[in-house]
């Protein structure tokens, strides 16, 4: 399966600050990809590079097997919902639909009108802006924190609406969010980005299958087998709890092995990158 986004050593610098560093990724087509990380991690920068809004300072990026979208044909294949889902306050619903139809060659008027009518949407609502992004019939849909300011019910409706659109149009989606429970609901591929660097990326199922929580008597981490990558470690006087990554089964009887939730996994990688590493990041200026 071809990659929708492929990066090698990708980096982005704003003046002297690196917002994204050494990012190597290959996101397969047909996935719903969750991009998660703290504020200032570089999520918006990565998405802006993928949509051709920014040019790399280092490395390379390919989107839909071509250069990042800057030409008409490429831009028509990528839908983008920016942070805060902005709309033109001076334009009506019909104005927004007309603008979308004139700016996008592949615009699906029937789809847009159908969704707006069926869901009783106003484009100032997030689902309305999603319609504007979907109706251009993109191959790749990029959503930058689309549910950040929504209440739980509206979030759930937005995500259900997104999944319906994904299924109907066979889209590839990359969406960033802080809300891991939401990502868990819709994403089948996860990227954790902390302090401008990719910490881990892969299919959710595979990540959950290869990460384990080990609890047992306190012990030195130097005794861990070489095949086990320790992501986080917590010690009390008598007990050690580790989150490890390994593709091998954990055979040591001293450990009680349990699975991890996506939230445990993400938080462990965020702690691993830690505040000490957040020294050269910068959120894109709005």
């Amino acid at each position: 399966m071809t990659a929708v986004i492929e990066t090698t050593g990708l980096g982005k610098r704003y003046r002297r600050l690196w917002a994204l560093s050494d990012c190597t990724l290959s996101i397969p087509a047909g996935r719903v990809v969750g991009l998660v990380g703290p504020n200032g991690a570089g999520k918006t920068t990565l998405l802006s590079l993928a949509t051709g809004l920014l040019a790399p300072s280092a490395g390379t990026i390919e989107v839909l097997a071509g250069p990042p979208p800057t030409g008409t044909a490429q831009l028509a294949r990528v839908g983008f919902l920016a942070q805060g889902a902005p709309v033109y306050a001076g334009l009506s619903v019909a104005d927004h639909l007309r603008l979308g139809a004139h700016l996008n060659p592949g615009w699906d008027t029937a789809l847009a009108r159908g969704r707006i009518g069926r869901l009783h949407l106003d484009p100032s609502q997030k689902a309305g802006t999603l319609t504007l992004a979907i109706a251009k019939r993109p191959d790749l849909l990029v959503l930058d924190e689309p549910v950040a300011s929504l209440d739980p019910l509206a979030r759930r409706e937005f995500l259900a609406d997104l999944m319906e659109a994904v299924t109907g149009q066979q889209l590839s989606v990359v969406l960033s969010s802080h809300l891991i429970t939401d990502l868990e609901r819709v994403c089948d591929y996860l990227i954790v980005l902390v302090a401008s660097r990719i910490q881990v990326a892969g299919p959710v199922e595979e990540l959950l299958a290869t990460h384990h929580l080990l609890s047992g008597p306190r012990r030195d981490l130097a005794t861990q087998p070489a095949g086990q990558q320790v992501i986080s470690a917590n010690h009390t006087d008598v007990q050690t709890t580790l989150l490890v990554r390994t593709s091998e089964p954990v055979l040591d009887p001293a450990w009680t092995v349990s699975g991890v939730s996506l939230e445990d996994l993400v938080l462990a990688y965020m702690r691993q990158a830690g505040p000490g590493r957040r020294n050269h990041h910068l959120e894109i200026r709005k």
Partner: protein, 262 residues
């Protein structure tokens, strides 16, 4: 890549709709023409028929110069809002993520400002001339009708408006605050007005040849300014307000993967 008139038209309509809801722009576009119409018209109508030729000439020069300011100030304020206004409300990214080329975006934004600016400029002159011809004393009306500044002003209205648009767009692409952009754009749009003022007040004698040469010069400057602004209409520069930084190696990745607890 060829420009699409549909996309340029869509940008123009969108820009005009956005201008309509911006109070500062609406006030500027309505109040300035009124102010610059009332003053000169009152000046002309207050001239008594047997006025000295020199006095009449000076008042007509003033009266024909002031409306020119409309064709500079209105487009300066509108074009200054054009990019930074979108950046402030966050709508620049979505529009730049559509297949609109930067030439189409630039053309759409420029034309959306040029049309109302030129229409207002000519309208003010038209209303001024009609009122003075109907209401002013006969010799005064004739002085306005035969003033060489009148045809010169008609030529300079679009040229000055174009300069104000390029100055406004260039500033708007660089700064991050709408009010700062509008103040700088007004300042930046004034230099060519000084040239027009010299001619209007006959410091430079407004012969046909000189007026044509100055108009040609201003047209060349407008074309050059268009090229400069086109270079500024880079996607990244429009979003961040700064020049893209490319080609520097990223810092080395941290080596350790053990937890901070270790």
């Amino acid at each position: 890549m060829s420009a699409s008139t549909a996309r340029v038209g869509a940008v123009i309509r969108k820009e005009l709709a956005e201008f309509r809801r911006n109070r500062l722009i609406v006030v500027t576009a309505v109040m300035l023409p009124v102010v610059f119409l009332i003053g000169p018209t009152a000046t002309i109508l207050s001239i008594k028929a047997p006025a000295l030729t020199a006095t009449l000439g000076k008042r007509v020069e003033y009266a024909l110069f002031m409306p020119l300011m409309v064709s500079v100030l209105v487009p300066a304020v509108m074009s200054a809002y054009s990019v930074v206004g979108e950046r402030e409300q966050g709508t620049l990214e979505p529009v730049l993520a559509t297949p609109v080329s930067r030439a189409e975006l630039l053309a759409g934004k420029a034309v959306a400002v040029f049309l109302p600016a030129a229409v207002l400029g000519y309208l003010i002159f038209g209303v001024f001339v009609v009122i003075t011809q109907l209401a002013a004393a006969s010799p005064v009306a004739a002085a306005v009708r035969h003033a060489p500044q009148l045809p010169a002003a008609l030529v300079f209205i679009p040229l000055l408006a174009a300069w104000a648009i390029w100055a406004g767009l260039a500033i708007s692409a660089r700064v991050s605050d709408t009010r700062v952009a509008q103040q700088l754009a007004v300042l930046g749009s004034l230099p060519p007005v000084a040239l027009a003022a010299l001619m209007q007040f006959q410091v430079i004698s407004p012969t046909f040849g000189l007026a044509a040469a100055l108009a040609g010069g201003l047209l060349a400057v407008d074309c050059a300014a268009c090229l400069v602004v086109a270079r500024l209409f880079d996607r990244e520069r429009l979003i961040t307000g700064t020049r893209p930084s490319r080609g520097t190696p990223a810092p080395a990745a941290p080596q350790d993967i053990r937890s901070p607890g270790e």
